[in-house]
């Protein structure tokens, strides 16, 4: 009831002010248009012009390398576990030097929602989202990215972290922050 009464009173006020109010609004609109007619346009013509997106924009996923140039991914499967749409799959395997790596790694971008949870879960900073979002393909099968499509030749956003330095395949007791290996055959301190 209250609303109805209020509406009615507003109508009455407009009627009292008459056409003057409407005219002011029309002139205001024209003035704004006129002003913009002589301004330089701020619209960028995509795809002729491509803005650079912020570094943290969430687009196409890549697998980065560590500062030594080796694959960072250890196929721990945390990204595939956290993925809400189950678009990541892989198979872990052991390399000759004992290092765990992904034998195959596959992301189905037809399913990916670019939420970035995989990047957040990755303990080795291997999986990262890039600002590239242009991934239109005619065939959905082309959106199935294999490891060779995902693996890049740089460190991505982080240029110094090397997981293997902390708990990788290096010699026991020789990595930073470790004591020399215990000799179990002596009780001497």
């Amino acid at each position: 009831m209250g609303e109805k009464r209020e509406g009615r009173s507003r109508d009455e006020a407009e009627r009292r002010e008459g056409g003057l109010h409407v005219l002011g609004a029309i002139w205001g609109g024209f003035a704004t248009t006129l002003k913009h007619l002589f301004r330089r346009p701020i619209t960028q013509q995509y795809p002729e012009v491509r803005r650079s997106l912020p570094e943290r924009a969430r687009g196409r996923i890549i697998l980065t390398r560590d500062p030594k140039g080796d694959e960072r991914c250890v196929a721990c499967e945390l990204c595939s576990a956290v993925c809400p749409v189950s678009c990541i799959s892989m198979q872990a395997a052991q390399r000759e030097d004992g290092r765990r790596y992904a034998l195959w790694f596959r992301i189905n971008f037809a399913r990916c929602i670019f939420c970035g949870l995989c990047e957040e879960a990755c303990p080795t900073l291997a999986i990262q989202l890039t600002p590239d979002f242009e991934m239109i393909k005619a065939d959905p099968l082309d959106l199935l990215y294999e490891k060779e499509d995902l693996l890049v030749d740089h460190c991505g956003k982080n240029t110094y972290y090397d997981y293997q330095e902390h708990c990788g395949t290096g010699e026991k007791g020789m990595r930073p922050g470790e004591l020399p290996p215990v000799d179990p055959k002596t009780n001497l301190p």
Partner: protein, 794 residues
Amino acid sequence: MPRLTIDGQVIEVPPGTKVIDAAEALGIVIPRLCYHPALGPAGACRLCAVSFLDGPVKGVLMSCSIEARDGMVVSTEHPEAVSFRKQVIEWLMMNHPHDCPVCDEGGHCLLQEVTVASGHCRRRYPGPKRTFVDQDLGPFVQQEMNRCIHCWRCRRFYQDYAGYRDFGALGIGWRTYFGRATSGVLESPFSGNLVDICPTGALTDKPSRFMARRWDVERAPSLCIHCSLGCNVTVSAHLREIVQVEARYNGDVNGHFICDRGRYGFDYANHPLRPRSPAVMGEETSWSKAIAQAVAGIEEVTRAHGPKAIGVVSSERASLEAMVTLSLLCEETGWEGPAFFQDEETLVKNRLLAQVALSHGIAGLREVEKADLILIVGTDPICEAPLLALAIRQAWRRGAWVGALDPRPIELPLTFEQSGLWDEELKKALLKGAQREEGLEEVLPGWKEALDRSREIVVILGPTVVDISSLRRCGEFVSKLGKKARIFPVFRGPNSLAASALSRESTFRSLARKIREGKIKALLLVEADPFHGTKMRGELEASIRSLELTIVIDYLPSEVVKRAHILIPSATIYEGGGSFINQEGRLQRASPVHRGGIPLRRNLQGNLRPPRTFAKGPPGETAKSSWQVLLELGERIGKGLGIEDKEDIWKVARERFPFLWQVEPGGRISWEGGGVQEEAMEEEEDPSQSSQEMRVLLVTSTFAGEELSQYSSKLDPVRNEARAFFNEEVASQRGLRRGDRIWIRMGDVRVPFSVKTSPKVPSKLLILDPGNEGLWREVREVSKTIGWTEIERA
């Protein structure tokens, strides 16, 4: 009965119960790392601390080491206890490498769980971490000592529970190292349990290393069918491949543990040569065509020669569903069979053993553990039913006396008396034992004394070495011992008891005889390979070749599969599930684990990646269980059984075979044995007893000789070579020493053997363990006796 209060709830527990177990009975799980119900408390990890607020003890104490007593008031969530546990976790994590991403335990790690639960996430101590150098512990266990938190579970299991000495603790304090003196293969056939009980990633499963995370696998409760014990297991499958088998707790059967044969014998299901699609005359075809061909073939043979011209063979590894369907189908159609056993002798022995055991009180693994006198007759536990050895050891640890009558040099992880008796001598000894109480004293010193103080006796009896009359003798002997004695039968296959109950008079040997006589023209083999362990290969090949039609339904790439006219693949226990009756008559069911199909690992393409194709189903058709195939066959030849699904089989079986099916799964069957006919018990003539000849006894070993595990590549590294056991004296007279290489001529082939000697082996006996059976492929007939002229040095 102590009454105590835990977190405000009152519970009454039997005396001797630890507080941690009392809490668990209330549903309160106190975190623990070192405590294990089978191994008892160690007080090593300090994680199960709780606050004792009132009663006989007070303060923060370890709940695993304190027995529940009257009037105790315990709080598991007291701030003091919680902060204590949090501290403990922080200490434990101080030297932990924090390498969960590359650790196989990640996802089902007890340490990970308690760490997350305690809220610990940052290592505050800035000092360096302690490290260890790892050892290679063989093909089953992967060691990563840096992850160890010194709970002592591994050492307590390996040395105390299982009784092997080559793995243990070295060093002291925080430098304690769990491993071997030097790198090397773990000697124990129970080493896989280390993986199960290790609460961290220090000891992980090597065959399934890096295969899958726990949250990705398909898991289901299943059964181990690699011997007759019927241990309960949990099976994990990933990407159409079985990756891991773990022990599943069943207090009535296996307890917490299983043996390595059961744990790593699963790989037959992933065998690269496993039949995946139906084949006619060796060429792959569709299901419908293969079934149509089989039906046409069966109808043709029936028209020409009558239904009795079709023989049906199955084996002791077939599921109860398959056995029941097959028995009903044979009744309906009038086919000859089904034959579940190789020959009459085996059938009679199995039936007799079942009868003797069931009429004297049958014993299972739990009864063995409780016994105080154990007599092993004609069984080599480690080789025939490995987990039995573990049960015997538990009894021995409680003070039981163990004696063995067996010609083989038995090895058990305990001290026991053994007398290498066989045949006549064994019969005589058992007869003496049956006549007088102290009758066995002559062959087993200490028997009389042990018998006098015994309350529960278990006689472990196996049908492989002992002959029919000795089995009977053993029955008499046990009845002499009275009510306190029970028989623990050890059969060959997982479903032998059901097979002997459902068997008619046919055996494979009797069918083969009819094939030679020309009475049988077609053979239907359901999950059976007559070539496995046969002594008459030449004869067998000739009979199979003379058949007009051979239909094989199986999941193994067996020898008979290669000779089949029509091959229809069936599902393994992992795809189809099934029911099995174990050696103590316990009916148990296994659930299907996954749908099956060709493992993705075998289907990788090009750049080692999965195929980029769309398909409705998995590659490699999902196999049907053999009973489903049989029902379809029956339907198509107009002899439908009116059975639709498993429930129907169980319903029909409950009516037709009430002795097997009156029980619910987990219970013991009510069959009383029987069906042993006197005339069937004709015994073979003792072959030549000349001084030059030795009688041959074929035996199997733990990792070689069992049918299914033979196809498991995971066990390849631990399979033993062919061995020949001689009496020590006889061997030294002939200049043979332990470890020598010899050739034994059998027919026109020479088979290599490694010589083993033992004073326990009777002098007129030669025990042959074929080891890897590949060596025997050319032997057409294994001789019953072997003379020294046929043995030559390599």
